[in-house]
């Protein structure tokens, strides 16, 4: 295999300019969107670097310490990252490196006999597929980074704390309450209790569409945390439907004060803190 790899390397080296032109032509015709994102000049520069280094990598296979190998990885990482940021699809991203085959194979076919041809194709395929997978990994990585950034931003705005009265704070919960949001909500809630030295926290669940066992467990967790801090927790917005589901599911919210309307909750909170309106 090594012998053939060297042979291919020499062959490609001889035809590097033709291959490079063919590759670029292919990219411009068949993967226009990719070229648009990367830019025509840059595409040409990138493909040039990639091709030169690929030729060097061939005899070394996927030896990770090889200088050319690292160079290829570096260029591919840059390109994939860019594509991911520009909302290109994974196939478009992988296309960038995979398309080099379209330019390399004809040259190999022309110069090698049938038996060698098969070996050569396997060798080249192996290497390029390996690199294509890498682009995919980088693409996924930067996607994940993007998603987690967005999630963080979303979480930060998704838990507002309202000081409704002296010593009384309220958190309106809207949307789904999963364990991560509960964690976030508890942090915000306890920070507010600590900072404002509030005695009562009202959790309003009017905006939660479905309250199942899991959501109920999250609510209990949050209410327990409030209690451990030394404050009272009142859960408001318990509609008929929610009351029905909770009892049918056998969920016990018994330890915590609950009521239907915000108004009732506020009234109770005022009593708990010995306050009156007006």
């Amino acid at each position: 295999m090594t012998a053939i790899a060297k042979e291919i390397s020499t062959l490609l080296s001889e035809h590097r300019h033709d291959i490079w032109e063919l590759w670029n032509k292919y990219l411009i015709v068949r993967a226009k969107s990719v070229v648009e994102v990367v830019g025509v000049d840059e595409t040409k520069a990138r493909t040039r670097t990639l091709l030169d280094n690929l030729i060097h990598v061939l005899p070394a296979k996927d030896d990770k310490t090889n200088e050319s190998y690292q160079k290829v990885m570096e260029v591919l990482a840059k390109v994939s990252r860019r594509m991911s940021e520009q909302n290109m699809t994974p196939s478009e991203t992988a296309m960038f490196i995979l398309s080099v085959k379209e330019a390399v194979f004809p040259v190999i076919q022309e110069h090698f006999d049938d038996k060698k041809f098969a070996d050569a194709i396997i060798t080249v395929n192996h290497l390029i597929d390996h690199f294509a997978l890498t682009t995919f990994e980088v693409y996924l990585d930067s996607r994940e980074e993007l998603i987690s950034d967005q999630q963080n931003a979303f979480r930060e705005i998704s838990v507002p704390v309202v000081k409704v009265w002296e010593k009384i704070i309220m958190i309106p919960l809207i949307g789904m309450l999963d364990s991560e949001r509960t964690q976030m909500m508890m942090e915000v809630l306890l920070t507010a209790l600590e900072d404002m030295q509030s005695k009562v926290a009202i959790l309003d669940i009017s905006g939660i569409p479905v309250v199942d066992t899991l959501v109920a467990r999250h609510l209990i967790t949050a209410a327990s945390a409030v209690r451990l801090m030394g404050a009272e927790c009142i859960i408001t917005g318990v509609r008929a439907k929610i009351a029905q589901t909770l009892v049918q599911l056998g969920v016990d919210l018994g330890g915590f004060t609950t009521c239907t309307t915000m108004a009732d909750g506020l009234q109770l909170a005022l009593e708990l803190t010995d306050q009156k309106i007006g």
Binding site: Q183, M186, E187, L190, T191, L193, E194, Q197, S198, K199, T221, S224, A225, R227, L228, M229, G230, A231, E232, G255, E271, L272
Partner: protein
Amino acid sequence: MGEVTILNIGNNIIVPVQTELHDEDARQLQTDILKKIENTGAKGLLIDVSAVSIIDSFLGRLLVETSKMARLMGTETVLVGMKKEVVLTLIQLGLQMKNLHTALNIEDGLALLEKMITGPSLSRRKDEKFRK
């Protein structure tokens, strides 16, 4: 020992925990508190943990047990000033300390003790059965 001061003010015992306790210190503190109750006949016990940065399952359990023991001796316990990070950690750990009374700070804690000792309050109605 003697690192943790146990104060006796009026009808209450106040324990401001100022250092990180290791397990034996904590056990010793429990004994000291109970002895103090025995000697003074205090009606209320207030433990201030606002300076404690770590409460693990051992210390958490010890606090809950101390409050149960104090109740057997006719003394109500309030734990005050737990840091929010400590609360979140205890919750995640699965330790809810259900039967422990808590307050945000010493002032609120003393007020709560007063209410618990002198009469039923709106918020603590369900605890009445424990006291009778």
